[in-house]
Subunit: 399 residues, 2 copies
């Protein structure tokens, strides 16, 4: 009587969530301060002060009916203009509000874009390992086929030979995520250029555009002055899915956008289909108070000092212990290799030391484990001896 | 390349929205104060003062990371408890937080419930005219068949003979909306009792529960001390889809819930499927700040004086002019019959007087027109002569 796929999606918790709940149970036994929980990607840095200042000012000064009333489905014109202005100032583009669709966060952006592009059950969406596990659910639960390209495990850039093999006449889009969850790597300008060239070649070959969907919730989270190439500048058929969850530390508020550049193939048709998909999914509009906050805070940048310090501390400690890890340039994740290349086994082993590390299997890289370092520096410092013990006491043999 | 159904949904504006946009264009020509726009169901009464007080207090007193962080997908336990407590106090029930799923408003509640129940493309969802037009889109865009039961045009209760004919072995659910948009009628206790009996009989006949989905955004909007029967007290296999959009005047904020009573058939499985459907649609959690507002304001009731005064004024003026209209007991809508029974024609005619009335066709009642009286009393008073003129100058002949 109930839809079996939806039941499966609702009853099978993700590995991440499972580990988090395990940590909560352990915390009851041994105390929260003795659990080194690196499982969740929940920002540990408060929202920039401008956010709560904006909220306070808006509710004090704007009439209630305007603050809390419906906006148009694509979002308030003023908010879309503020976002376009910010993008244009940073990237030298000339986007207009009509190219933006305000969404309830990146997941909503992605689902709306995917439902707009999945024309039938043969439609293929290509993901690249390591990848955010919900991508598979978003594609498959909405009628598409998720095609996974294996990781370039040396650098976590793109294995272009593997990607080229994955592209077919049924490929609607390639979905990328840089800065990357779970690896923390940032696709280099060279990677984006090669990706654009390959997609142009394949689009020409098939006589139709293969879209690039760029999922960018971590765009602002990069360290050491690293820059993140902005894909629409390299490949015209790019759709950007953005969220303020990480950049403004607002993951619970569900606010983001889809950018459909006018230059993209069939952009008007695609924008309308995204609007239709949002409607079909029950998104009436994005939360209205938060739209006004973004109108004022679109140009506010995150405080990154704490994340940067966490990364430096953890990276040097773990590599000194002997872990292999590609140096993470962005997001707040680090992807370490299990000493014996068995991420599941090392994750289980690490639990003995109350060290909660997400096995890489669900990200498409079973040799690895994800560490979310959006936690307190104090917890990281206390966890180092546990990492050392877990490494030293692991019988690091393949089996 | 783009999904044709989604494109159609995104590019075909609703009749309501069309009329509203027409009004905006006319307002530029003749002045906003000369347009009598009765098209939209956007609350005209501000949110109760407790709402903005709660927002101000929460951002001033709760740490940012807690206010704006992810909640669990089903919503914060404290918010669900506050809602359960409020329901239990009012209806003598004993719901627990585990029976509630916090959603991004009624549309999200409905889509999640429908996706959970639509098992395959033969699944039928039965709606009863007059009905909120998005129901059809929510069902059809998510793979089901929408079956419409014609209206009881005398009273806007339920034509039970027609409903019985519509129920088949493929019926997953019957979807009701009382107080009703667009008619403003409230289903009587007798109607709900008969509905429960019929569904029990048919469920027994088919050997499986036919769910009742009760869409209740207007539950709190009733006048003259009228009571709205609470369907779970009459029929155990009821799922309630609620929204605070109208009761707390927060339509832009997208906050509501689904109640899946433990007593309902396969309730655990259905609840999990609703969670899965929400996940598949990209709902990560409902907006977190608003969840905290509801935790504090679940028991706050709307100020109805303005709506009640509008209704009385309009109802007596229009019936005096000669319009036929079932006396509306709830919501903020009135459904008048076109003098010649042609709602489309009268809507067009009324535009000459800058009177914007939504034709009833899209609600499943082409003889009628919807008037949304969530507007200023002043506009209503000024509009009466226009109604009179439109009525008198209409050549009220069938054609």
């Amino acid at each position: 009587m109930v839809n079996g796929n939806m039941y499966a999606l609702g009853s099978n918790r993700s590995v991440i969530r499972d580990l988090f709940e395990y940590g909560n149970e352990r915390a009851k036994l041994v105390g929260r301060e003795n659990i080194y929980d690196f499982s969740l990607g929940n920002p540990s840095v408060p929202a920039p002060e401008e956010v709560n200042e904006a909220i306070a000012d808006i509710i004090a000064s704007v009439p209630s009916v305007a603050v809390h009333g419906y906006t148009s489905a694509q979002g308030s014109e003023a908010t879309r203009k503020a976002i376009a202005d910010d993008l244009n100032a940073r990237f030298g583009t000339s986007f207009t509000p009509a190219e933006l669709y305000i969404s309830c966060g990146a997941a909503a952006s992605l689902v709306s874009t995917l439902r707009a592009l999945i024309a039938d059950d043969g439609t293929e969406i290509v993901g690249i390992a390591p990848f955010f596990p919900e991508y598979r659910c978003f594609v498959e639960a909405n009628g598409g086929r998720f095609v996974l390209v294996p990781a370039d495990e040396a650098e976590f850039q793109i294995d272009f030979a593997a990607l080229e093999r994955a592209l077919t006449a049924k490929t609607a889009a390639v979905l990328i995520n840089s800065p990357n969850n779970p690896s923390g790597t940032v696709y280099s300008e060279e990677t984006i250029r090669r990706l654009a060239l390959l997609l142009e070649k394949k689009s020409a070959e098939y006589g139709r555009a293969i879209y690039l969907i760029s999922d960018e919730p971590y765009r602002e989270l990069v360290y050491d002055g690293e820059t993140v190439p902005f894909p629409p500048l390299y490949y015209k058929d790019t759709v950007v899915c953005y969220s303020y969850s990480k950049s403004l530390s607002l993951p619970g508020e569900r606010i983001g956008y889809v950018l459909v550049p006018a230059a993209a193939a069939e952009s008007a048709r695609l924008y309308a289909a995204i609007a239709g998909a949002a409607r079909a999914s029950g998104y009436v509009c994005a939360p209205s108070l938060l739209q006004r906050v973004i109108e004022r805070c679109a140009g506010v940048r995150p405080h990154l000092e704490e994340y940067a310090a966490n990364r430096d501390l953890l990276y040097s400690a773990l590599t000194e212990i002997g872990f292999r890890c590609v140096y993470p340039k962005g997001a707040f994740y680090m992807f370490i290799e299990a000493p014996d290349g068995d991420g599941d086994r090392f994750s289980e082993h690490a639990k003995q030391y109350d060290l909660l590390l997400v096995p890489g299997r669900s990200f498409g890289c079973e040799r690895f484990l994800r560490i979310s370092y959006c936690v307190s520096g104090e917890m990281i410092r206390k966890s180092i001896p546990a990492f050392k013990k877990a490494f030293d006491e692991y019988e690091g043999l393949p089996h």
